[in-house]
Amino acid sequence: MPEKHPPKHAANEPAGNAQEATSADESTAAVVSVDTAGGAMEPSAVPATAQSGQLPGGPDTLLRRIFTGSGMVSVLAVLLALIIGGLLIASTDERVATAAGYFLARPTDFLTAVWDAATRSYLALFQGSVFNPRGNSVAAQFAPFMETLTIATPLITAGLGVALAFRAGLFNIGAQGQIIVAGILAAWVGFALHLPLGLHLLLVLVAGIIGGAFWGGLVGLLKARTGAHEVILTIMFNYIALYFLRYLLNTPAFQRPGEANPISPILDPTAVYPQIFGTQYRLHLGFLLAIAATVVVWWLLNRSTVGFEFRAVGANPKAAQTAGINVSRSTILVMALAGGLAGMSGVAQVAGTEKVLTDGVAATYGFDAITVALLGRSTPWGTFAAGLLFGAFRAGAVQMQIQTGTPIDIVLVVQSLIVLFIAAPPLVRAIFGLNPRRRKPARAARSREAATTGGAA
């Protein structure tokens, strides 16, 4: 039983090993999925997600996880981020500033003002993203929710791309560029070719996916062949794609005739996604495809040999290689698939919501996708849910800005805080006073304790 326990130093031990010592700690599950991406830096040190198995884990582990583990922390992280965001909103609110002026005289005024400022904004956010009771028809009341789904569509597919790569130990910061390249190809097929209904849209979709897959796969290829780091590569590829798009939009092939601005012709009506619930909502077929993509990615990761290879490479590339898995091929394939998924976002943009190609085709969806994947813990359905949440933030923020003047940027703040907090469960628990009973004593305390007990012995 007494196994040798060498010092646990991350520098020269697989991280899985370091995990071992703390595997009983409930924080593991939460930290782990985020750490998956850590593999990006040093593939041999990648712990995979604890849930990777998907083999039945027994009901008690599931329950435990919900109550003490990551589920609770996720909720608290969102809450905490909203609170901090609310404080930021309040801090720039005029009435709060006024009330602060006589804080000592009537502190309740100040607190009320803070509460009002924050809740007013968040209420507007909610009304802009889920349900607007002031709409003059049921359809109008649910319009915000439809808008949320619309905005969530590209977030979900690009998020799936990032999540898939995470699971294979690759940090794909390149969804932005992949969306752009996909958008270029899809848009070109959409406005330059004139094909029959159905076939045209199919070709637009295929072109977009191929575009994204090419751009992602290229990174995979470079990484596999030269060992170049994918974080650097994807960042650079984002910019290369952006400038290439800007160049194209100034060429006759892409620029709309008679237009001085860099904007493409409008896509043919045969090339755009049909709207699911009619023309009153922007929600388009792309959303159903995003659901389908989620299902496919889930199956791929958990039920297919390809996904098994991805996960094995992500968790321990050396063991994967020793087991006969072709690490290079997995790297290229997973980056291509990730790019293809991001490509679906590009298609959703040009064939769904925008119907033209501009240099803002990717907006910030590619970067948001990273936070979506992180919040979703790199699981397909988690990513889907995170995509919906961030879609709601985006949709609601527009309403919030109109109604309360709170800038959209607050969404970025809340979004990034959520991811930070989720990645650091001990911090969240500490803030909410939820630290587990068997707390590790502080270093100094520990050595003192050791000294005293030692003396007694």
Partner: protein, 532 residues
Amino acid sequence: MVRVLKLELRGITKRFGSLLANDHINLVVEPGQIHCLLGENGAGKSTLMNVLYGLYEPSEGEILIDDKPVSFRGPGDAMAAGIGMVHQHFMLVPVFTVAENVALGAEPTKAARFLDLDATRSRIKEISDQYGFDVDPDALVEDLPVGVQQRVEIIKALVRNANVLILDEPTAVLTPQETDELLDIMRQLKASGTSIVFISHKLREVKEVSDTITVIRRGKVVGTADPAASTTDLASMMVGRAVSLVLDKAPARPQEKTFEVRDLTVIAPNGQHVVDGLSLDISRGEILAVAGVQGNGQTELTEAILGLQERVSGSVRLDGKELVGRSVKEVLDAGVGFVPEDRKVDGLVGTFSVAENLVLDLYDKPPFAKGISMSPAKIMENAKARIGEFDVRTPSAAAAAGTLSGGNQQKLVMARELSRPLRLFIASQPTRGVDVGSIEFLHRRIVAERDQGTPVMIVSTELDEVMELADRIAVLYKGKLVGVVPAGTSRDVLGLMMAGIPPEEHSHSPQAGQAAGRTTINTSDAEGGDHA
């Protein structure tokens, strides 16, 4: 080297979670002595020394220097108290020069904290001259051979005026010659007043150099011994039972040769020929053990067979099929079972479930997959069967493999590799870091595989294991085959071979050895099938 101090550990206990690595250990290192800590791999020696060196804080107990309790908050405190340590894995920054490594942490400086490496250089020269080290202060550490790196580590401790030097398994990576040189250095250090704590599980060295021996087993001190005690006594103290050096196994009944290696050469990325023109063969139903000091090409040999090495020339034939130039997958599909030397790094995925690890190289084969669709039910079924068959102690088939003990992890890897019909079985360090109970089990499984008629190659740096399992022994030195000798070859001869000296002066030439081995084996074939 003026101050001589007495070091005492009292009731040291160290827990890692539920694991008790050290259990109330008491130990006194008298001034100017070489005190040996003898124990198996995993007995808790390194943990104890990391406690002493301030890297771990003890869960209980205290350290006394010259009878005064001290508390180390980090290695800095330990060093200040005169304790130096040479770790099993060297703590040298590879891209630094010797001087930079020696200076680090206690840097001589000029004005404004500018480094004064000249001061360090002259200190290195001084110490080098005193002990006859040949170390260039300006060489990059990564360019130095292991033996020299170890001297740099010793210099590091001496520069800091260590009165007590802890050497953690210092001979694991050394050839017998280098080991002898190290033992000389230890005697010199002792003569100049430095106490040494020498951690080892190699009885010969321990007996040769120690003044006192403390034996540790399963985290506890089981007693002290006199260096004059017999090897058998020391061994049984260390292992905790009378050691039967011979495994209860039937003699091999080798059949036709199905595995042949011819002129195999593996070139490392730095251009070194890590395996150099090596030829050997294994028959069905026999175990060939590859012996040698760690780092003499054994790892690369097995990796080359498996297809993990990039620059390989020569030929490896299994059942007449060439394996060189094939992918790992193709080699595995040809019926090669492979247990890598570092199971945690190469053998399993720690965060995958036990069930998934049991199909790590079978996941895409029926019945576990149809096309690219995997069958969780079949994988689970397989897991239950293997766990039972190999007695893998795990909470469930869904538990993460990384949470298992070393022995159970090894059983898991072995269970996977032996779960399909094999044409060749290769196991590297099959019992490294494995508890005694599991060792026996694993050894029996290996022999059973042999008795089913599989050619088996065992790579081990543990001479005991080699002698226990082998039907024939091949010794590697610097990538070259020194010779192949029959099972009963004496320890001394094997030791010389591991230092690169061929067994010419003995009556057996490698060929004769093989022939002799065969003869004895062929004459006694009574209970060959018993283990199958």
